[in-house]
């Protein structure tokens, strides 16, 4: 895991991965890199939590993995969002939005 506030909020990893894959299919390291870049380095995802999460989501049918070659002619496992994954993402985003709003209300009260 990263240092200090770089820890991911519990349970959000799957949502972030799904969101990342919604744009295009990517391999494991690409996903980690994208999350780090988009969050301006706030979140860093390491292999120890990302790869098990990918494996779990693949089992659940939310993403589909297939071996392809990269731009540098290496082989890597590319993950693509499935229809079920898209639905799950929408649901989680909605859930997340509700939770954030609730937390904000509590903090502002």
């Amino acid at each position: 895991m990263g240092v200090g506030n770089r820890e991911l909020v519990q349970g959000t990893l799957e949502m972030l991965v799904l969101k990342t894959l919604a744009l295009e299919s990517m391999h494991g390291y690409g996903i980690a890199l994208r999350i780090e870049q988009v969050s301006d380095g706030v979140f860093r995802v390491n292999a120890g939590s990302l790869l098990p999460a990918l494996s779990r989501m693949e089992r659940a049918g939310r993403i589909r993995g297939e071996w392809r070659s990269t731009e540098n002619n290496r082989r890597a496992k590319y993950y693509t969002l499935t229809a079920a994954g898209r639905k799950a993402l929408e649901q989680e985003c909605r859930q997340w939005g509700r939770q954030i709003a609730a937390i904000e209300r509590i903090l502002e009260a």
């Binding site: 494991g28 292999a47 120890g48 790869l51 999460a53 494996s55 089992r59 049918g61 496992k77």
Partner: protein
Amino acid sequence: MLRSLMAGLRALIRPSERNAQIEEELRTFFAASVEDKLRLGMSQENAEREARAEIGSREMVRHNIWSAGWESAVDSFLRELRVTARQLRKSPGFAATAILTLAFGIGATTAIFSIVEGVLLRPLPFADPGRLVVLGDTVPGISMGSNGHIGVTMPQILTYERETRGFAALGGFEQAGYEFSGAGAPAEISAARVTASIFALLGVAPLMGRTFTQQEDDRSQQVTVISYAMWHSRFHADPQILGRKIELNRKTYEIIGVMPRGFEFPLIPGQSDQSRLWVPLSPTPDELQEAAAWCCGMVGRLEPGVTSAQAQQDAGRVAQQITRNFPAYMSSQRIGAKVRPLAEDTVAQARPLLRILFLAVAVVLFIACANLAGLLLVRVIRRRREIAVRRALGASGAALLRQSLVETLALSFAGGLIGLGLAALAVRVGISFLPESLPRVESIRLDWHVVLFAMGTALLTGLLCGLAPALAAARTGVNETLKDGGLTGSASGAQARLRSALVVAEIAVALVLLIASGLLLRSFEKLRDVDPGFRTDHLLTANYRLPQTQYSRQVAIDTFNSTLLRRLERLPGIEAVGITSYLPASGMVRNSTFVADGYVPTEGTEVDIAWPSSVMGDYFRAAGIPLLSGRLFSGADNVKAPLVCIVNHMLAEHFWPGQDPIGKRLRWGYPKTPTPWMTVVGVMGNIKQMAVDAPTQYEIYQPSSQLMASYGKLVPPGLLNAQAGSIVLRTALPPDSMIESLRATVLSIDPQLPLTKVHSMDEALSRTEAPHWFNAALISSFAAAAVLLALMGIYSVIAFSAAMRTREMAIRIALGSQRADIVRLVLISGAKLAVTGVLIGLAGAAAASNLLRSFLFQVSPFDLRVLALAAIAVFSLALLASVLPARRAAAVDPNGALRGE
């Protein structure tokens, strides 16, 4: 869902493929990370180091990916199972003892359960069996047996059918024997006459053809429906059977249907008397006049919404109506009606026996379980060091608990499987030894209920036995265990107490079972000692029944009987020959009301009941019943002579105490029945008419030729007498050697007439004793097993605690203790356990006394001899089991034992 299942299964079956995938993904991740860092300007070396640091422990990542799927739980369970198997292989003695102990306990329990399930628990094989009931009369003053009713009479069947309102359908039946010919050798077969409504009411359709109609029943059509067994045994399962003609009592019947396999009706105990075919009841006009012969039974299906209590009330109303319409001579007779569930009626008799068997077998299982728990505890204590090391290396208590439980569950699963095999064997072999008093024997088999029961019991036993030892293992303290070396010193107090308590409980329940077995054996011995009142040795008996078609006139019957007697008398090796209407001690119930001249009945006794016998030939000498006073019947006591009878001693004593009974008079029926008097000409010794273990009854004998006359005007014209009977032969040679000449003699008179139940009296008696023998033998073998297991238990506890105290013993000897003192020390610890167990066991036996009482014959459940003998036996055996460990402890070499530290 399905995808996850398939992927998991694939990972389980090909773990290397899955691992390779994980490995490759990790590698590409690493490579991509390095590439990225190179692009940022890092040196190759730094980039690789950085990337490796970011990923962290590869082993951990791999493990996490694995754990993401459900298969990882299965995988770790399998790994634990492999460890368990390895550990058990290392101690084969322990594994074998544990598995066999369990297999034995579970096998016995399962075998008995399969009987209980087949007989008691499985619903009757009829449609909606919960709504089926039996209807029968209750008659004050007559023993109704365990069923609480005595059935109904032929005319009542019609009345109940017509007048009751609480039944959707009601039908009557009578069990009957028929001489069967037309396929194979002539034989006497059991059958049932049933009303046409019975099949529809039971809701069972025939396998082939049809059942008979109301019309056929009303018109006495000669049609028959045969059983599946009959179809197979007599007709080789001929598919063209319908329409075939057979002879029953030498009348032609047409086969119109075959019932499916497993259809039994009426549901009667035992296998030998099951109905092989069914014919319409079609009562004859004569039978409809017999208002006092309770020959039949009735079954009904309750009207929806009607309870069996309401139906009984309804039937009671009809019973009162029947009572009011009794013929004048029966006017003092009262009857009531009883309605009870058919299932209840079928198994009522068998219930207590099965309950006691089940309890006995549960005791054996309990002891087996206690032994297993003891074994497991010992194992935990022996492995304390190993467990402590594992704990020290980081194994959690939960992991150790799981490991122990996996071990016991593996053991119990193996034990359960073997036990199931044993049970299957026992049921297959043992079913023929089941007593004839058990109903529904056909439905006893190992079905999935039984399998479920066996495996459930196995796993439950495993859990129960394994829990305490597993907890003990999980709680093992690391420090103290490793400090004292794990094997020396005494085991922890709590564990030792638990094991002692187990052994005490084993001894106690084993003693209860042993006492039960002793009591049953004693009562069996008493039963064998009962004097039946006649000589059972050198006695050959056989039954016959003359078919009405050929013997439609009394002359023909009389000629047959007298010819038979004459020819048999002339056979070499025959001392005396007689024929009686009913064989004594054959389990048959006969009740006839009678009136004794000059006797004023005491208050409350409504009717006097005697066992009637009509005899021919030299019956009394043949049976060996002693004449106490007066004379036997002679040829002069024929149809035209004055009516005479012979009574037994008990009747003479009761009705004419202190007087000479010779010359007194008796007649059949009730005080108002117009029957003629019979003069008593002789008094015979009491004999056991119904069964050896039944109380002696009043007995009245009369010459067969005078039977009709003694019924006076009640006898409808044309009724025949003596067309059935039991031949009684007193032989000089062994009775079995006379069977062939007996058969030949009968066939020389009527070449088609079959004889049934041809055997020696001794054999017949041992058959009626069979249920008692079965109880005694089964309970005794359970008791033997229980005692043996309990001894194993006490031996292992004493041996183990002695082994644990080796160092203590060595020190004692080194300090000058005598070896005899050591032996005494160990023996006393064994004796303490034994005494406690015996005392608790005696209390338990007292508590179980009520349960046992109904199985005992002339033996009190508190029979001192049995109690003392069993207690002493258990105590001394327990002491004996402690002798070996005691001697071993005393033989310890103090030098070796102390230096071996």
